[in-house]
Amino acid sequence: MKTIYVDNAATTKMSKAAISAMMPYFEEIYGNPSSLHTVGQIAKEALVKARMDVAEALGADVKEIYFTSGGSEADNQALLTAAELGERKGKKHIISQKTEHHAILHALNKLEKRGFEVTLLDVDGDGLVTAEQVKNAIREDTVMVTIMTANNEIGTIMPVKEIAAVCREKGVLFHTDAVQAVGHIHIDVKEMGCDMLSLSAHKFHGPKGVGVLYVRKGLFPSTLIEGGAQERGRRAGTENIAGICGMAAAIKEAVSKIDENAEKLTKMRDRLIEGLGEIPHSILNGSRTSRLPGNVNMCFEGIEGESLLLYLDAKGICASSGSACTSGSLDPSHVLLAIGRPHEIAHGSLRLSLCEENTMEDMEFIIQSVKEVVERLRSMSPIWQDLQEGKRNYVIQR
């Protein structure tokens, strides 16, 4: 049975380029970049080169790149940086929005316990916030706004450039979690105008356990991890050289093929949206237009997401859902609830996140399979029976 992997928002398969870029750093170039001897210095050269590649891919300066263990660490460090700056200036208000990743939301909860006030903006039905909303929420004591570039579940791309402009005008820091966006849509930190940006290598065919916090010149990140003077004293710990080199190769490749890949993914994405949209009482989650090229997220009324995933897995299709059973809590996805889906509908969600290795034939197989599985689950669902018999009203009208 062929495996069709369409869970690339969770993680991606590493690219050949990333793997071969990493290999020398396990056996041949194993030195510690902090060591003065030749073996260490060769490793240091690799680190310098990788930093240049990453900086170039983002339109940043090499001194603005801080390597981290991934997106979550970068997000936490960005928030701590703003918080410590705010504490010094007596500004203890932070603005974010409801569909952020938990790396942001949970770190914000922690800051609330530390005396910060957090405003979480509502999103519209497409999962969008506007620069106007941000502008209206900014106060005298606002130190930072953090809004993701693109949502990990529903793929909605936020108007980050406009939001950054509002923040700049008001003298408020702007951070963006661009974990789902980097390598998939054009990102230039100068053009966007963000002060800080987080990314994670394994979302664009790089290795897991490595990421970046971009921090613009003139702003100094607070330390999450104390220790040695790595990353200009802002992030202690011997560098994950292999991972960093793998990430550099992956970002270089992703950025060089960004338009070509986006075009291919958009075609497949649109075919899925069209094909799955034929299922009665289904609805697309997220914006139809301001959307990541590889993201499809739909709700199907009357069924539950985990059983949908398991039946699809039995057909070789690897996907994801925002149901409570898959989120590990009682409640379904906070993102689906934020865009207004009621609980019972949010339980029946399916996320398909594509990559350039998928094919149009895969899409046809997925459409056929999802149709069959939804029908099968509906045939054994008491909710569906009630809906059909008119004992319960449809939430999704068509």
């Binding site: 009357g302 539950e304 059983s307 409570a324 059973c325 590990g328 009682l330 054994m380 008491p382 909710i383």
Partner: protein, 141 residues
Amino acid sequence: MLYSDKVMDHFTNPRNVGTIENADGVGEVGNAKCGDIMKIFLKIDDGIITDVKFSTFGCGSAIASSSMATEMIKGKPVSQALELTNKAVVEALDGLPAHKIHCSVLAEEAVKAAVKDYYDKNGIEYDPEMFAQKHDCEHCG
């Protein structure tokens, strides 16, 4: 794997799926908001469960628990069905992950709710304590 082979078997090939027209007892438990609803239909002749069907909205373990519970009570006297515990369902399934145990509780309760409905319809007296809800859920509450 998240689930045992037994769970996957009962999920992939669920037994006794469907409904029974003019069932002697019907029990529905759970809540759409929580993501699982189980409905069990009983056909009872002379105190024996001669047929049983279920329909379930829920995750893999909810469907597997329903399937297993129906298998365990089929052909049994009603009194024996009332003795079905969620623990027995879990054991028969070779275990469930800790956060899925509530699915087996729902299965036990669905069976009991169906029996209660049968008792109510036929004016059979019973101790209401027997049908006290076991699972606690802030949504279903």
